[in-house]
């Protein structure tokens, strides 16, 4: 019913609402992504030459960025759920916050292209095992970080 829709501030058809909302989400993702990328670059500049580079050309700074970013992404659903459950954030704002922090900030902060670039050297030198270990090690550590974060902050809190 239209009056009800008007009272709650929602438009009667979701489709009429969709384009504007998508643009809003896209805008916050762009802003978050710019900040995340900037943070990754600044961290790389700050750590340049200060971290030991382990055997096989593993970049510990890049690994920390990617695994740390994955951990924070794993915390996000539980965090947003708690914010909404506490009544401080509505459903619409939850979606905006989620886009800003998830695909935006953390998506821009973490990167696969830099990991792929790191494997080019070993691949060229026929050290395929080093390249594969580098790739798998990064992804396995990141997935483990997501799993740990989801356990620490589940979406459905234990009663």
């Amino acid at each position: 019913m239209r009056p009800t829709a008007r009272r709650t501030g929602r438009r009667p058809h979701a489709s009429a609402d969709a384009p504007a909302r998508e643009t809003t989400l896209l805008a916050v993702v762009v802003v978050g992504g710019a900040l995340g990328g900037l943070l990754r670059w600044a961290l790389g500049e700050a750590l340049e030459g200060r971290l030991p580079v382990a055997v096989g050309g593993v970049d510990p700074g890049l690994l920390a960025v990617n695994v740390g970013g994955a951990f924070l992404l794993g915390l996000l659903p539980g965090l947003l759920h708690r914010l909404e459950a506490s009544g401080r954030v509505g459903r619409g704002r939850r979606a905006v916050l989620g886009a800003l922090a998830g695909p935006g900030l953390l998506g821009g902060f973490t990167t696969l292209s830099a990991v792929a670039l790191l494997t080019v050297g070993p691949l060229r030198d026929d050290r395929v095992v080093v390249a594969v270990a580098q790739l798998l090690g990064t992804l396995v550590a990141a997935v483990a970080a997501v799993a740990l974060a989801r356990r620490l902050l589940p979406v459905e809190p234990a009663p």
Partner: protein, 115 residues
């Protein structure tokens, strides 16, 4: 100038993140085609840019925009890890392995062909 480099990194990363978001929104289904695509394309962009640019370290403005910014923002490891986790053991492993294989192959091919 460091300020220019920072601005170009931010612009590239913002653009990359926006493109990644649109691709994921329209192409990600139970199998995340969109995220897979941007991870592969972004890794290819990084490989090509590093091969073609003189100083790919990031001091160079083109490298700051293309490699650190655009390719870095277009690709995501946190999103990939989240999807692998949520897809479960079998599909997650298949999706993760596919992404790593295609992204690395594209990056290496672009670098070696253009370098």
């Amino acid at each position: 100038m460091t300020a220019w480099v920072a601005l170009l990194v931010a612009a590239g990363a913002g653009l990359g993140a926006g493109l990644r978001f649109v691709a994921a929104l329209h192409l990600d289904r139970s199998w995340p085609h969109g995220t897979l695509m941007v991870n592969v394309v972004g890794s290819g962009v990084a490989g090509a840019a590093v091969a073609l640019l003189d100083d790919p370290g990031g001091a160079d403005r083109a490298a700051a925009f293309l490699v650190v910014g655009l390719a870095g923002g277009l690709t995501t490891l946190s999103g990939l890890a989240g999807q692998v986790h949520d897809l479960g053991w079998r599909r997650g492993t298949a999706y993760g392995a596919t992404t790593l294989a295609l992204a690395t192959a594209t990056c290496a091919a672009a670098y070696l062909l253009l370098g």
